[in-house]
């Protein structure tokens, strides 16, 4: 099936506008718009143009290799893939994690979400939020933020660095470590490592609180604009703890529809395929998942910080819970549907991570030596985790020789595929429909995509100065407008 503005009725007579690549997101994607002679939008699509093939080339590899191999999907959130795969392998070897192993993995994951959220908010999103969506392009980047708001930039860098240090001490390296292995972890924290992290955690909580205050202030200064930007209603899906709390590492699946009503709750993710299906469309390498009971048309949903904060009953750390309540009260207590509310909830989660890290660092289980377990073996394993960008599903089958024979990965950005396309269409209609093309207007589309913090490929990414070429071609195929940004960031016609 197709959605409104997904496919134009007569595309051959329309002019095509391409934003390629979309910038300040992880990976490579493009947006295509088809417009008529009056610049009315007839088609808007967000395409993912990379093909990775991980699900195929891990076939034949030993299962022990998978948590380290598949994390190469991403250079920003490899820990998420590392842990989701490890959880699947726990199931395959029948492991029930020891308290030390689970807490060390949770610590690693908190560090991961913290650094990823800091990266996104300060490096990628803050230029739009601080300077305006159509502000001067030459300074609409992290360097511009550092010049105009040096303290904000400094805190952003320091928050990300701290999260990376947590990862280094639990996984062995800041990027692509090996800490989680089937059945547990391969190292604990030494006393010196714990004290090293304890030294700065108070400051990180203060700065995380400051980041929440900053986005709250920006958002509430123009509430109608921020609420209305790319607005649409959708379902949300996330993991929740058995008591309904926000839980980034483990839990049951909860999905609520656009009216905040349960679709399913506390679902055992070990049989996710009974509830979530994927549709393939010919114009994107990314699939379109949907909730089976609601069908292809109605079953799409959003995941990530907005989904998690909307879906959970409470956040189990005090400062973040206060902020969740303020956030909920902002929209009268019901689930907030605004696209740009992703930024606000992302910072609430970063505060939760900082608090969670502090709690864990006072737990002596992190220093324990009981790190591995195993039990009755199985040939199939499913691991689900809440990655920074949303629910991440890893599903593997092995043979009797312990080789991977099948893999299915549904990554966070894939869940958000339809939602991002919807946001692009809404913004295109709101801001571009019938207007002259400008870089600032096109950036509105990118702002909507960036709100989701999509990880498009994941391992390749660049900040700010990716080359961008936008062409406006009329109905006869003649180029009538053209914007080019070269690799040094300079713009020209």
């Amino acid at each position: 099936m197709t959605f409104e503005l997904e496919t134009a009725a007569n595309p051959e007579n329309l002019k095509r506008v391409v934003i390629e690549p979309v910038t300040r997101v992880e990976g490579h994607g493009k947006v295509t718009l088809l417009l008529d002679e009056d610049n009315r939008i007839h088609q808007a699509r967000f395409h993912i143009v990379e093909f990775r093939g991980f699900e195929k080339f891990i076939q034949g590899r030993p299962y022990t290799e998978v948590p380290v191999l598949v994390q190469r999907l991403c250079g920003i959130c490899p820990v998420s893939h590392h842990l989701a795969a490890s959880k699947a392998m726990d199931m395959i070897i029948g492991a029930q994690l020891t308290p030390s192993a689970e807490k060390l993995r949770r610590l690693m994951h908190f560090g991961q979400v913290m650094q990823s959220h800091a990266l996104h908010f300060f490096y990628l999103a803050s230029p739009d939020l601080l300077f305006g969506f159509d502000s001067e392009i030459a300074t609409r980047n992290i360097v511009g933020v550092a010049a105009a708001y040096p303290e904000i930039a400094r805190q952003g860098v320091a928050l990300r660095k701290y999260g990376q240090e947590v990862i280094r001490l639990t996984a062995g390296k800041r990027i692509h470590g090996t800490g989680a292995i089937p059945g547990g972890v391969n190292k604990n924290l030494t006393l010196a490592e714990r004290d090293f992290l304890l030294k700065d955690i108070e400051q990180m909580i203060v700065w995380s609180q400051g980041a929440v205050d900053l986005i709250k202030k920006i958002y509430c200064e123009r509430p109608e604009f921020h609420n209305g930007f790319g607005y649409y209603r959708s379902s949300f899906m996330s993991l929740v703890r058995p008591d309904g709390a926000l839980d980034l590492y483990h839990g049951g699946l909860r999905a609520r529809d656009e009216h905040d009503q349960d679709i399913f709750d506390h679902l055992d993710y070990g049989h996710y395929w009974d509830y979530v299906h994927e549709e393939v469309k010919p114009w994107s390498y990314m699939k379109f998942p949907f909730i089976r009971s609601r069908g292809r048309e109605e079953g799409w949903y959003r995941v990530g910080p907005l989904a998690r904060v909307n879906n959970c009953d409470f956040i189990p750390t005090p400062l973040a819970e206060v902020e969740r309540r303020i956030f909920k009260a902002f929209d009268g207590g019901s689930a907030t549907q605004a696209t740009l509310a992703y930024h606000w909830t992302r910072m609430i989660e970063m505060l939760h991570c900082a608090e969670g890290i502090q709690d864990l660092l006072h737990d002596d289980d992190l220093l324990g030596d009981d790190l591995l377990s195993q039990g009755e073996r199985a040939l199939r394993g499913v691991g689900v985790i809440e990655a920074p960008r949303g629910t991440l599903i890893h599903h593997y089958r092995i043979n009797e020789d312990e080789q991977i024979v099948r893999a299915n990965l549904i990554v966070s950005t894939t869940h958000n595929n339809q939602a991002m396309n919807e946001a692009v269409r809404q913004v295109a209609l709101q801001y571009l429909d019938g207007k002259e093309l400008t870089e600032g207007l096109l950036n509105h589309i990118e702002v909507a995509i960036r709100a989701f913090d999509p990880c498009l490929s994941c391992a390749t990414h660049a900040v700010g100065k990716m080359p961008l070429e936008v062409e406006l071609i009329d109905a006869e195929g003649k180029e009538i407008d053209r914007l080019v940004r070269n690799s040094s960031g300079a713009c020209g016609v």
Binding site: T64, P67, H176, D401
Partner: protein, 239 residues
């Protein structure tokens, strides 16, 4: 009076019957090598230990030391040639260090670092190589085999089993298993065999142990192979 050879201007003593490699290792002088392991009969196949003796290129692991021998080891020319050999080994196989559980414990990787290899330089062959997971305890990944024959020698000379051998010629050479089906699971191979723990790369892996050693505790995490080898650890010990 003891007999001596000179390696790069330094005199070291040796006993009758020692090779240049034996004498060098005893004197804590590192000569790069991959197919050599003091535990087994020298093989002379990888050519990494090529040194110049009185103007002639010889394999240090097979050339007997003789009194007064002048050996050139650490020269720019020799290291350039060694680096090229290692680069060729990398492109002839499928060595994916980032996801290999032997990373940090791998002699091929360590030697490459030691020789300053920054890129593979040559075009990758990406050869199709067979994986054999049929054994209950050991995974045989031919993608990473460098044909050093250490497993062949260990199985034959220590384990007394002759499980492994090389077949084919030139670029078609490959590691084969001595069983009716050609599969490791149908051979007499056991995880306790010496041959199971002698592979300098990640071609022979013990199942269910991947990545159990954390980063920071692996053999070459803190010291380069030239230091590890000359501090008494023999090549090929990679439990």
């Amino acid at each position: 009076m003891s007999k001596t050879i000179t390696i790069d201007g330094t005199k070291i003593s040796f006993t009758e019957g020692q090779t240049i490699m034996d004498a060098a290792l005893a004197a804590k002088v590192y000569i790069p090598h991959l197919c050599h392991n003091p535990e087994f009969k020298p093989h002379g196949s990888c050519k990494l230990c090529t040194v110049n003796v009185n103007g002639r290129a010889v394999s240090a692991c097979t050339m007997p030391a003789s009194d007064g021998m002048e050996v050139e080891n650490k020269t720019e020319t020799l290291d350039n040639e060694r680096r090229a050999i290692v680069q060729m080994l990398f492109v002839e196989g499928n060595h994916l260090c980032p996801t290999c559980e032997k990373s940090g414990n791998c002699q091929l990787q360590a030697v490459a670092y030691c020789l300053g290899m920054m890129t593979p330089h040559y075009n990758h062959f990406y050869p199709p190589r067979e994986i054999d997971a049929s054994h209950p305890d050991v995974f045989l990944d031919r993608n990473r085999c460098i044909l050093c024959e250490l497993c062949v020698r260990a199985s034959r000379d220590v384990d007394g089993k002759n499980v492994f051998g090389l077949s084919g010629r030139g670029i078609g050479s490959r590691l084969v298993v001595n069983s009716a089906s050609g599969r490791l699971g149908d051979s007499t191979f056991a995880v306790t065999d010496r041959a199971a723990k002698v592979c300098p790369t990640g071609a022979i892996l013990i199942k269910r142990q991947g990545f159990s050693v954390p980063i920071g505790s692996r053999i070459y995490d803190h010291k380069p192979i030239c230091q590890v080898e000359t501090e008494g650890k023999s090549g090929g010990e990679h439990e």
